[in-house]
Symmetry: C2
Subunit: 200 residues, 2 copies
DNA sequence: GGCCCTATTGACCAAGCGGTCAATAAATAC
DNA sequence: GTATTTATTGACCGCTTGGTCAATAGGGCC
């Protein structure tokens, strides 16, 4: 029976939240219009009324996931660390732990990531988010070497390396969590970053 | 018209090859029984005759992908390098370039990887392959520190870090290849590994 | 030469999918 | 108080999917 209505923005948010939950549990494969509708206790027609096509719902969901994962916030405790190398180490450590906190969300991002190979819009969205995220690291790094490259590494290259180290752990751990301890990994990352900024 | 037959092993190999090509082009989503059959110029019933269920075909394909990506061969030029740290650097460099050579295959592996979250068999298969791959690095690393931990890093942790560095580049580059140069990244990786094995 | 086994095919099926549409009820405009 | 617009629903459609099955053709065996 049509009747009990709701504000449009609220509905869209409700549907998006349901889509997020469905995607976390069943993956993007399981993200069907009907599953989202059932989760939100709505008819599947209504979901298609608010998001004209399924992929629009998917792209809106991707935006939410990107905002949650690939956005870097630099807290005061870290910003005020004097030595640039220690500041970088603290930042990498923070991000590594943050990514590991919600492995299902990172896995969802990774699902979108692989689909970016066949979908230009997805590729562009994640590419932009990743580029922004990398640049944030690059800013911290360029101070480290006072503008010029440190050793044989450019700051852009080092930023990409930092990103590899950060997402590398949860991605590996999502397969065999018992064999790969987070503390062990984190210690090695810190060890590897220990001698940065010295002349080669 | 049933008639022109073929040896069983040959047929399975032919179907598997077709499945590989389909998956490379269209992703795991596009890997339908009918698409594989069409690619191999066979009826889709025949594909299901040789691989009883679709997921058996998928698992066989995963084995092939794993054998192509997560298997480490240590050539003589690298094995004979005297300094352990340089040997590791050369090995990481080789693997990084090898992974980047076939980005579509790595992307396919990554697609399986994310599906491991919802499928125990896939998770176990990739987990085993990854563990084996990591162990191979660990062997090279343990010589580096003569058995004891180097700095604050365990050899297991360092092996995982090496894997992160190796797969991190192609995974990032698959989204924005023009912004992230391989040489730049590789130089930074070498720079980061430069001071390994020194006391902290 | 008849027999069985294996490989192969096309026809078929039920389920699930994204998407459309007419009907309807509530909010809003006039 | 009527007309219009906006949300909402269930019924429906066409398509694709994985899977089954009976029919059939060839190869090997005795």
């Amino acid at each position: 029976m049509p009747g009990q209505r709701e504000n449009q923005a609220t509905r869209q948010e409700q549907i998006l939240e349901a889509a997020y939950e469905v995607a976390l549990r069943r993956g993007i494969d399981g993200l069907t219009v009907r599953a989202v509708a059932a989760r939100a206790r709505l008819s599947h027609s209504l979901v298609l009324f608010h998001f004209k096509r399924k992929d629009q719902l998917g792209l809106a969901l991707l935006d939410r996931v990107l905002a949650g994962t690939l956005s870097l916030t630099l807290p005061n405790e870290i910003r005020t660390i004097r030595k640039p190398r220690e500041r970088l180490q603290a930042l990498v450590s923070q991000e590594l732990q943050r990514m590991s906190e919600e492995p299902r969300r990172l896995r969802l991002l990774l699902e979108f990531w692989t689909r970016g190979g066949h979908n230009a819009v997805i590729r562009q969205k994640i590419g932009a988010g990743l580029s922004e995220y990398r640049t944030a690291f690059q800013d911290v790094l360029s101070e480290m070497s006072n503008g010029k490259t440190s050793g044989r590494s450019s700051s852009a290259g080092l930023a990409a390396v930092a990103v590899s180290l950060i997402i590398g752990y949860p991605v590996q751990a999502m397969l065999d969590p018992e064999r790969l301890g987070e503390g062990e990994y984190l210690a090695s990352v810190q060890g590897v970053l220990e001698h940065l900024g010295l002349a080669a």
